[in-house]
Amino acid sequence: MNANNTAATAIRVLGQLRRDPRTIALLLLVPVVLEVLMKLVFYHQDRVFQRVGVPLLGIFPLTSMFLVTSITMLRERTSGTLERLMTMPVGKLDLLLGYGLGFASLAVVQGVIVSLVAFGVLDLQVAGPKWAVVALAALNATLGTAMGLFVSAFATTEFQAVQFMPMFLFPQMLLCGLIAPRDQMMRGLELLSDVLPMTYAYDALVRVSADGALERKLVLDVVILFGAALLALGLGAATLRRRTG
């Protein structure tokens, strides 16, 4: 691993995004718009908004980062720049960490903005510290970045890449506990949800919003989310090949 290469890649990725202000605006605003929409949808059932509002603060950023990174990485593969980089003194993990770092820094901004609106304007309540919600939102976005980098290996076109969002993320949303409590699902589905990262994202956000104590289970969730992000990056690096057919 090499910090120079990772930093150079992170700066380059952010430079590319900077040239695309509309994407940045979408990344930062779409979660806000969706959160506002949730507030309006449950305007007369504030209890429901209070229950799902916080978990969605984490799930929206995860989804948008997943999409953006999987497309960006796919472009790197198809434009020939990846082939060129593979002939240069740069490690595969350096590249992916650079991507992860670049997008994660944007994810922090995204998490802060959507949380500010949710707490400041939409009157979302949390029992725990608000900074923990922001941190979890950013962590989830980072996880989305890592998963997006990984799955982009399996797409050869952008049409395929966008399909991975419903394919990888929708089932996780259905199973994470947001729609139905996990312990009331069929046993097989509950077991399946145990190995899906979004389950822990949901669990962590619910813990912060409900009882608010930063206890052991929450720490475990965070460790699992970090682990899942690192695993996805590692798997992503393993799918990058210096030599191709």
Partner: protein
């Protein structure tokens, strides 16, 4: 021959189930400009990819500067310019070169020198995506010049460029070679042959002939490299008959 920078022996490459290089052997002389000429689809790009270590090979060996092709030590000593320009369209010329320069540990001033060399002075702050095809190809070429590699593998670097610019780039290649660099330059147009020190004429994954342009003309008695190419194909066909 101790003078070879690249030694390819019995190289076999299969792509998409088809044999592209059935067993290629050749040597590329150090410090010279070698032209890799042959029709589209004959395997030039595949050979170059194998030399820079990004092609899966089915057999044979390639050594570059005495190391196996694709080994880690070669990654800063060998520069490669892909056939399709591989640069970031959403970044400026300078940002592109700055990024690759950091990866290649290029020295200060390298970016400006490379921009100057490929004739893009004044275009440094232009977005690469808004450049013409020829300008794009030159940004891609400039990338490989950043760290002054000992071996430069250039896949059709002058295709589609304005004649004046082509002449200038060939001058640049010559300057690099006289500074000790080894250049392997592919082309599917035969009129670039005369600018090379050495030629490899390639067809259907095989090297038909190698030598200096003068040697090839003399050997075949043809008036041009294109003629030499045709006569070599004819005599190869006769030999197999």
């Amino acid at each position: 021959m101790t003078d070879a920078a690249i030694v390819v022996s019995n190289l076999r490459v299969v792509r998409g189930g088809a044999v592209v290089l059935p067993g290629l052997s050749l040597e590329i002389a150090r410090g010279r400009v070698t032209g890799l000429l042959g029709p589209s689809g004959c395997g030039k790009t595949t050979l170059m990819r194998a030399i820079v270590g990004v092609q899966i090979v089915a057999g044979g060996t390639i050594s570059v500067l005495g190391e196996p092709a694709g080994s880690r030590q070669l990654r800063s000593r060998v520069g490669y310019v892909t056939q399709a320009p591989s640069v970031y369209g959403d970044l400026t010329v300078r940002e592109n070169l700055g990024y690759f320069g950091r990866i290649l540990r290029a020295g200060p001033g390298a970016v400006d020198r490379a921009i100057e060399t490929v004739g893009l002075a004044g275009f440094g702050d232009r977005r690469v995506g808004n450049l013409s095809g020829g300008q794009l190809a030159r940004v891609s070429l400039a990338t490989a010049l950043l760290n002054e590699p000992e071996v430069l593998v250039l896949d059709e670097p002058t295709v589609g460029l304005d004649p004046v610019l082509r002449r200038d780039l060939w001058k640049t290649f010559r300057v690099l070679a006289s500074g000790g660099a080894t250049l392997l330059v592919s082309s599917h147009v035969m009129d670039e042959a005369e600018r090379c020190d050495e030629l490899v004429l390639m067809r259907e994954g095989r090297a038909l002939a190698t030598g200096t342009p003068a040697e090839l003309l003399q050997r075949t008695g043809a008036p041009s490299i294109e003629g030499a190419f045709l006569s070599l194909i004819d005599s190869a066909a006769e030999a197999t008959r």
